[in-house]
Structure formats: C-alpha cells, structure tokens
Symmetry: C2
Subunit: 335 residues, 2 copies
Amino acid sequence: MIKIALDAMGGDYAPAEIVRGAREAARELEVQIMLVGHREKIQQELAGDNAGGLLSIVHASEVVGMDEHPVSAIRKKRDSSIVVATQLVKDGAADAVVSAGSTGAQMASSLFILGRIAGVDRPAISTLLPTANGVVALLDAGANVDCRPQHLQQFAVMGSLYAEKILGLANPKVGLVNIGAEETKGNELTLAAYNLLQETNINFIGNVEGRDLFFGAVSVAVCDGFVGNVILKSAEGLAMYILGMFKQELGKLEDILGREKIMHILGGFQRRMDYAEYGGAPLLGVDGVSVICHGSSRARAIKNAVRVAKEAVEQQLVRAIKVSLEKENFKEGKY
Amino acid sequence: MIKIALDAMGGDYAPAEIVRGAREAARELEVQIMLVGHREKIQQELAGDNAGGLLSIVHASEVVGMDEHPVSAIRKKRDSSIVVATQLVKDGAADAVVSAGSTGAQMASSLFILGRIAGVDRPAISTLLPTANGVVALLDAGANVDCRPQHLQQFAVMGSLYAEKILGLANPKVGLVNIGAEETKGNELTLAAYNLLQETNINFIGNVEGRDLFFGAVSVAVCDGFVGNVILKSAEGLAMYILGMFKQELGKLEDILGREKIMHILGGFQRRMDYAEYGGAPLLGVDGVSVICHGSSRARAIKNAVRVAKEAVEQQLVRAIKVSLEKENFKEGKY
C-alpha cells in the first residue's frame, strides 16, 4: 500500500484541517498516511480515530514558519516536520511527501534531501488552472523567477509527462506562454525557448496567449516562474472579483429565485474556480514525489493533494521524467 | 477647439466603425476630427454627414497591414494613414493621433516622427483594467518585452502622471507587479526596480500581487511589457470564460427570470469587462499624444479613445511628463 508522509504542521489550518484531510484521504484513497509533526498535537486532533490503522504519527519537534528564510531554516531545523517528512521519502519509508507549509522550505528540503533528477537544472511547480474544457497545467508556477531557455525546455518535457501520467492525456498539447501566436513574437527568453521546444519529442504546438489559455488551447502551458505566478495570482484575483459581482447580482434576485437556488448556482462557480478541487502542485524535477499545497488548504485540498501524490507514485512519474530527460539530453547533447 | 487625427483605415472594422465613432465623438466631445485615409472610402462612410463641419478628411493613399513588419512598413509607406496622421501632430495641424491599426506601426511612427521625451528610454502602453473599486492603469502593456530596471522606474513616473491627469486621482498609489508583497520577493528585474521606485517622488506603495490587482490595491501597476501583456490577455480570456459560464447558468433560469432581465444582468457584466468602455491606451513617453486602440474597436471604443486623447491634450500630459522626468533625472543623476 502506498505510504504518504504528510506535514501535519504546515499551513494556515494545521494541524486540525490537515489531520481531517488525512483521515478522508486514507479512507477514500486507501493509502497509509504518516502524519509528521508534534505528537501530542496530532494525537489530540486524531482523538483516537486513526482511520482503521491507516494513519500513523511520526514525531517532529520543530516547525518551519512561513516568514523564515527557507534554506537557512531547513538547515537549522533538522527536526522540523517538512525536513523529517522529506527524509522519510529519501529513506524509502514513504513514497511521497505532501505539505501545505512554507513552499520555499518544501522546495529547499526536496532539493537538498531528494536531489535533482539528472538533466533537470531547475525543478518546477506544476499547478492546474480551470479552463472552459477542463484544466491546463501551468509550469513553472513560481519556483524559478529567473529562467534560461533550457529551463523552459525542461519544464515542457516534465509538464508533458505530468499531463500524460496524472491527467491521463495522450500526446498532450504543450504551449509556450507568449504575447503573440507567431514564432517571431516574444521576449529574449521565449524566442530562444521556442527553438529549444521545437527540438523536443513532445507535442509542442507553439505559442499560446493568455486569452487562449482559459479556453483549453493547450493542456500544458510553459513559462518562467515569475510569469506563471503572476498568471496564477491574477487569475485567482480576477475570478474572486467577478464571482463577487455575480453574488451581488444574484442577491438582488433572491426573492425571485430563493436563497437555496442562488447558493446552488454560486456553489457551482466556486467549485469550478477553487484550487482545492485540483489538489496540490507537484514539484517536478526532484528525485521523489513532493506535492506542494496552498497555504490556506483545508481538509478537501489536502485530500486531493494526497490523491495527486498517490497517482504520481502509481504512474511512476519520477521514473518517466528520468527516462525522458535522458533521451532529450542525449538528443540535445546539452546540459 | 482640439483637433484629433484619426486613422480611418486602421482596425478590423475600418473605415465604417471608425467613421461612426468619429461622428459620435465629434458631437459628444466637441472636438474636430481629421479622418486620415482613403478619401473616397471615407466619403462613402460619411454619406454627407460631417457632424456639422467637425469632421474633415485628410487623404492618405496607403495602409499598413497588421501582418507587415512595423518599422519597414512605415519607412516604405510614407503615405500610409498612420504615418500621415502622426505627421499631422508633428506639424501642429493636429493635437493628437488615434488609431486602431497595427500597434507596432503606430509605436514606430510615434517614435520616429514625434520622438521620445528626454529622460524616457522606452515609451510604454498604459491600459486600464477594471477592478472591484474602479480601474487600475497597467503599464507597460506590451511595448517593451525586455526591460531594464530604470525603464520600470520611468513607467512608474509616467503612469502616476497619467492617473493624476487622466483619471483625476490625487497622489495615486503606484505598485510594482510582483510575486510577493515583501521587498525581498521578485526576479532580478523587479528587485532592482523596487529600489529605483523608492527613489522617485511618486506614491510608490511597494509590490502588488496579481491577486490584489483586481481589488484596487493600487491605481497604477508597473511591469515589463511581456508580463503586462500576459496579465491583460489572460484577464480578457478568464473574464470571457467565466462570463460564458454565467451566461449558461442564467440561461437555465430564463423561464423564471425572463430573457429581458437576463440580458440586463449580462449586459452589466459585459460593460464592466469591456475594454471599449475604457477607450484607448496612450503611448506614454513620446513627444505628443498618441492613443492606441484595440484592433477590434467599434464606434464606442473609438469614441472613448478620442475622449482619452482629448483629456491628455487638455491636461497637458506630455508637458507634465517632460517636467517630471527632468526633475526625476536631475534627482537621480542617471540616464
């Protein structure tokens, strides 16, 4: 049975919502979950219900705060929940690590403890955005704010495999986030990356503009971590803003439609726009499965993140990336 | 009376919608409009109604196509509508140029014919995005895909003046588009720009994340043209996508609400999200008023762009930028 090391102390609602999510995940997904963190606090939340033995506790005395400098924090706090959880994967005691704590700390511990896959210069965070006909995997979503063209090439290869293995898409369409459809459009980075992407074996369909991103033009959208993070956060902001307007308008119709119907309609939208539906974002390129959750994750988001981790393990995503990048590297003769 | 040189041949719906917009603008805004382009075609659209003498024609035999290389096109086509219209401003025959044609061609002609303001390395396109409590001026929206820190500093100063003069805001809040609120967050460009922005006399409030952009955290958001264009286009795409979903949901309620009410509600949203409401985007930093319109502008968008051009002239925006950048330059001792 697949074993997930879950950082019980990470996130705005830890440990309560993390433990709740772990319990739901264990039951629904039939996985063993090691809750990593302060034993007494976790036991308190478990309140005797360990999901029929699927939940266990691995004690860790420290926690890395959101405001701490990631690298120095994980170096100092060797007994922090994120470091201990990641080490469990390195030691083979767990198959994957999931955390809603400091993204920087999780990236740092994944890099230092699990290490990078050969051929990957920079691991990337792959997030899912809702689109008119499904989802699009956007990477990098914030791990690397300054990128070189070959980094984007590696993101594209990893993103394509992620879409294939986790989203179950055959030959997924991969696009380069750009300001025009034409090959000649873009900044120095995207112009150079365009050529490198053409050299890969993936289904690169060319540039994709933000306008087409939300209409499912591609299944994988590649960009540097600065652009990706800006897209992700402005999409969140704009969606919240528009949904707020809907709420107001629908509110005016309460006497005609009734509160229940309005709540039902709004619920549909909110689910559609809710990152929690899409679970965690895997850190692609490290030598192990590491799934990053939104800091404000509640039980459902945690459960869905555990599902993503489980699928990544079952589908041997890490192995697929290793094999594929070796091929690409050989073909490229670079790195 | 203020005179606007309007490129009658530029845009997807030229000349028909351009001429219609010109007529509405002339009557509503009491401006003289020189319709620049093919005389016979414009006369046909005018059909004898020159808005009581407010509309006139300046013949130009050529048109720059959307697919042409901007710089070589305006060099070759000396008698193109955009070149002739821009020259009218240079010669003092018109106070501003407005076009919905090739953005690149308008930028090139504005740069070569009007020239740059001293202290401006790169003119920037300033667009307005709707927010929960008004609008935010986003610049650069696509003129400069690769920027240096001082370019962003200049954008900030120009954007602040634009918000002051055109949006009528006192001491407008200016933010740097970034991936975190903290001063230490960002890529090489934004980290360096942050320090330069602190040295200006504008009301720089620090970094602004995409999430806050649409909730009116700032009145001016500064970024490089690649990021700005991506934000603009993904916002357009996401808004269209969400409105589409809402349309579907409301459609299901037609028998309860009635078609008219539904159309009324949707109309409100579409207006809110419609760039046409916000008129054209001025090219800030050139030595004259040059307003860029969306290629798919119809009459209303053209009219609103003419309004923006009129206000820029009345408020002496160009002069304000000159004065302010001289001050800044002196203070900085750079450029």
